[in-house]
Symmetry: C2
Subunit: 264 residues, 2 copies
DNA sequence: CCGTATTTGTTCGTATGTATT
DNA sequence: CAATACATACGAACAAATACG
């Protein structure tokens, strides 16, 4: 069976884009009317072909301007610590970004008092409706939103004296270290969960993702436990899948510059 | 500005689908002609709305049958070992699946001799064109393709006497344990890389993913190193993002039944 | 600032092909 | 074979966003 015409046009455009024949140097593709003439098809058929390219993330269309090829993002590689004594997430982030010659920026923490529900109630072993403190931070690399993170603490930690949890400031020791210093409650282990899912509206907006849900987000959920096995905090971090990779080591491995992996 | 009509229709359909008013129990949605009449729009406009739902993965269309809502897959949670002495991947897989009351199946290994290139050459520190052995296995859960895995070994291991690497059989100790027994080369550490990317053609076909690249695959690349820091093998595992989650623990954490996390 | 040309976005209509029942 | 339902393709008109003189 012969391929549909819009599919053939899409494939031809894809090849010409990947060879650099079209769209090189930020130039727009030929307009829909020009493509209609050159392919001897109707404008709607050309639009079907372009829509296929848009869905695959190869091009973007801008009303009044034209159709442009998207440039690939240089991904950042996050090191996942398998060692509970590794440096805290907050401090590790900036140094890791700078080690790759890029500029990190972290927003000031945004504090909210919320009621435990769903994930937080389950992970922190709290009744639904119990108060939790959430600390939220947005993280940028070279000015581009790269990930964001929300950590939930049981309100009882504040009531027991760890009052800086509800201050909108970063602490040099990190909040987890602060809790250990003030309350003697130490995080001796954590469980990480990873999942990949479509972005919600807020994520689509913040990360400037295409609104068709084509780019997934990676969500990591880290629950920290104290000496008696009680959950101390749960940290939810969200990474757009188009600009993030992860690396983790176990046992003895030779050191190596962390870098993004190309396809091969 | 008012929302476009196709967008309004899509939103209305989405709400009716999520409330169960439409498509419940495997029933098809109303046909495009019926929707055209009920929304007082053209069939093309209704199709634009349906295309939006298809792109979001809410429905699938089948020629001659109708439009159906997709049911959510119950994800499987893979435990990532942070301990180099944990049981081998191959043996761990089946027991972990059975622990969640599901039926694992692993295909017989498919062996190929290939030339190192790109990823394998870089990770195994081999010249391009050097021979490598690839062992490939497909993994199923309840009969559904769930992941597949390819491990690359330098050909010199076979030449040094580890000849079972090129036999299409599973070994009770796993290949890595076999190499240790025969050659005395022990894997003392490994580096895992994680990335999320659109599926290629083979993956789309094997996992029966929609051909618009909407569902990403999660790729993990595990490179194992021996006592002298030389790479021993590299294992590439591919998981469709719509049916896989991961969990990893560090330090001391209370035991818990691994389960998929819902959104909340 | 304004008006015009260009370009993509939306919506309609119609006809024909292909897959399934 | 016939009926139904989605897929493809064409043509047309107007709206909205943008760029430019």
């Amino acid at each position: 069976m012969r391929e549909s015409m819009w599919r053939q046009i899409a494939e031809d455009l894809r090849l010409k884009i990947e060879s650099g024949e079209l769209g090189a140097g930020g130039m727009p593709l030929p307009s829909e009317l020009e493509l209609r003439d050159s392919y001897r098809a109707s404008r709607n058929t050309v639009r079907d072909a372009i829509k296929w390219l848009v869905t695959r993330g190869l091009v973007v269309t801008r009303p009044g301007q034209g159709t442009f090829v998207v440039q690939k993002i240089d991904p950042f590689v996050t090191t996942l610590s398998t060692d509970i004594n590794a440096p805290r997430e907050s401090t590790a982030y900036a140094s890791e970004v700078m080690a790759s010659s890029r500029i990190p920026k972290v927003s000031d923490p945004r504090i909210e008092i919320q009621q435990a529900s769903g994930l937080t109630a389950a992970e922190l072993h709290l009744q639904h409706g119990t108060s939790v403190v959430s600390r939220h931070q947005d993280r940028f690399i070279d000015g581009v939103p790269w990930s964001f993170q929300t950590t939930f603490y049981p309100m009882r930690l504040v009531e027991q004296g760890a009052e800086w949890i509800i201050r909108a400031q970063d602490l040099p020791t990190g909040i987890v270290g602060y809790i250990e210093n003030v309350l003697g409650i130490k995080e001796v282990g954590c469980r990480d969960r990873f999942l990949v899912r479509p972005p919600d509206g807020a994520e689509t907006n913040f990360f400037k993702l295409p609104d068709d849900g084509r780019i997934s987000v990676i969500e990591t959920i880290r629950t920290g436990y104290d000496q008696v096995g009680e959950p101390l905090r749960v940290t939810v971090t969200t990474y757009p899948a188009d600009r993030n990779q992860f690396v983790m080591t176990a046992g003895k491995v030779p050191a190596e510059q962390t870098r993004a992996l190309p396809r091969g």
